[in-house]
């Protein structure tokens, strides 16, 4: 039993990261009906920026309550800028082009970022451990061998995820920009007729999603390591999570992310770890066949 609880904790911790990335996918899809293939790479860039920044400020020996937010905020700002650039340079010129063209462009951007990260002047191909920033400790409950362990990074990841989602919900529901975002998601053309600056709203959406991905990137960098290809699988899994939760739905992204984390962990723990990655795609295919609108999405019939 304790094993199951341990696996659940692990799953939620991983799922929290997927949720953060999935939020970016879901918001961009909501406004543009575009799968931003490059989103996984933005997550990776967040980790890379966090890595470099932490190395830079290491010599100043700042106290944790200063350095930690600093690293996160810098990564968020950098990725927001990156997200803005991607949208402005690669997607905006194709705003009225067929979806497939934009999809291919998105793949191109993803590849570009992956390969730029492998250049020596950005990061290089070798995986590197994140420089020391947060002391990691864990708390164990229960008597051995029936123990359950939670580490402070699990708590951080989960807390950040839920907290940021709450903040995001506040922005989307309570601010004018959020209102604009919802309007553009609902009806693109009409919202511009209503006086909403669609371009600005879309840029904002990208920046917001990218900032969240950056947070996930830094957390995972601290937990694991930094490598230029680290965005590929989490990106895909987070996309599946977004679809699972209902693409376009923000609570859906959170729930979807958590579910994906749980499924993956339980498969690894109880079935076979060899197939854990493939499971993500099986989930996707099943969802798309059974309930394509996902858990929280609405089914929008195709109007002619």
């Amino acid at each position: 039993m304790h094993d199951l609880i341990q696996q659940l904790i692990i799953g939620l911790s991983i799922g929290a990261t997927y949720a953060l990335i999935a939020l970016g996918y879901t918001m961009v899809y909501g406004v543009l009906r575009l799968i931003n293939f490059a989103h996984g790479e933005v997550y990776m860039m967040g980790a890379v920026v966090g890595f470099h920044v932490t190395n830079l400020i290491a010599r100043w020996r700042l106290p944790l309550w200063v350095s930690l937010p600093f690293v996160f905020v810098t990564a968020m700002v950098a990725c927001a800028a990156l997200g803005f650039l991607i949208e402005f340079l690669a997607y905006r010129p194709l705003r009225n082009r067929p979806r497939l063209v934009v999809l291919i462009t998105a793949i191109g951007v993803s590849l570009l970022l992956q390969n730029l990260a492998q250049m020596w002047f950005i990061f290089g191909p070798t995986p590197q451990a994140f420089p020391p920033l947060i002391p990691q400790y864990s708390k164990t409950f229960g008597t051995p061998p029936n123990t359950i362990t939670i580490s402070n990074l699990d708590v951080l990841s989960f807390g950040l995820s839920v907290g940021l989602m709450a903040a995001l919900a506040w922005v989307v529901l309570r601010t004018r920009t959020g209102l604009a975002l919802r309007a553009v998601s609902y009806r693109f053309d009409t919202s511009s007729l209503m006086g909403i600056n669609t371009n600005r709203t879309i840029s904002f959406t990208f920046m917001l999603g990218s900032a969240l991905a950056a947070v996930a990137g830094v957390v995972d960098a601290i937990r694991y390591d930094v490598k230029p290809l680290m965005g590929l699988m989490p990106g895909l899994k987070a996309f599946v999570a977004a679809v699972l939760g209902g693409i376009g739905s923000i609570p859906g992204a959170l729930v979807g992310g958590m579910l994906m984390g749980l499924v993956e962990t339980l498969v690894k723990g109880y079935l076979s770890s060899a197939y854990a990655d493939a499971v993500a795609f099986v989930v996707l295919i099943v969802i798309l066949l059974v309930k394509p609108s996902g858990l929280f999405g609405r089914y929008v019939p195709e109007k002619l």
Binding site: D3, Q6, Q7, I10, G11, I14, Q118, P125, T126, P127, Q128, A129, Q136, S138, T140, P144, P145, T147, T149, S151, D220, R223, Y224, D225, K227, L229, M230, M233, E264, T265, L266, K268, G269, S272, S273, A274, A276, D277
Partner: protein, 378 residues
Amino acid sequence: MRWMTRTAWAALLVAGLMSCKDKGASRPSNEILIGEFASMTGQTATFGQSSHEGLMLAIDQVNAAGGVLGKPIRVITEDNRSDANEAVTAVQKLISRDHVVAIIGEVASKRSLAGGGVCQQYKIPMLSPSSTNPAVTQVGDYIFRICFTDDFQGGVCARFAVKKGWKKVVIFRDVANDYSKGLTAGFRAGYENAGSVVAEESFREGDNDFKAQLTKIKSAGPDAVFLPAYYADVVKIVKQARELELNVPFFGGDGWDSPTTLAAGAVMDGCFFANHYSPDDPRPAVQSFIKAYQAKYRKTPDAMAILGYDAGRVMADAIKLAGKAEPKAIRDALAQTKDFPGASGTITIDERRNARKPAFVLALKGGKTSIADTINPE
């Protein structure tokens, strides 16, 4: 304007065909050409680049000392983008277009197998610095390696486990990696009678989170965990194991060897790994290599680098022994390599064209290694 496009196409075609007119072009005979095929880009770029750096250091040193047979050695490096099909193309180019007299490569056994087929076909000697799959040298009598094989290394780990009195072991292997597969097989063969493998778990190279499997491993209650994987995954796995209060020793093979493992510090305490060499080995060959490497590249070398370095030196020595830069002679000279003082150990090439070298088992403590055991080939 159609004629313009037509002419453009025609010109392109002609230009393309023209560049193929290169059969047996004369080569400058004032240098010795050696080919290298490595993964300079792609999934395993980090290994290829390390190996390449080690090799180039060796060749630079050889050339600085006057070269071989009075001529400098020039290495033509072709990138195979971490792909086996590309490896064949790269080797084909080196042989057919660049007319190299010998080839060094590759790190990954799969690509060595791929390239080895071509080398054997054209009778160009090939020396692999670090491919450990036994099948590599079985491709033919022109294929050599200067490292030990998976079955030997797995056996070393098994012998060590037995010596340490670990009766119950869990194998945690990388399912997508043939190196891990080979080591596991070698380990099982050596360990089967002496102890019991209570569980076997797997992960995929590049995975980040292993806690699910580690939880299962913990429940199995082993004395130690055999982890035949590469350093990036190893560090993450051990770290997560410690987080889960799984404090038994982890041990593995030469894939652990990297500055990253040492940089992980105290979390790796109590773990062991088999390796080709030890930085504590006082032999001047090792120490001078490390110094020279750091001077040239400003970083600490890893296992691939040192093996690449030795491959270069063994090759240069073989050419010297052969007396002429001619593939067959080089091949015979390589076969006769005996007690070569490599930085990664004393290298003797046996009749199966594998290197007979002792293996060190290194213990990790406080970010440093120490020699826990030395195991010689039987």
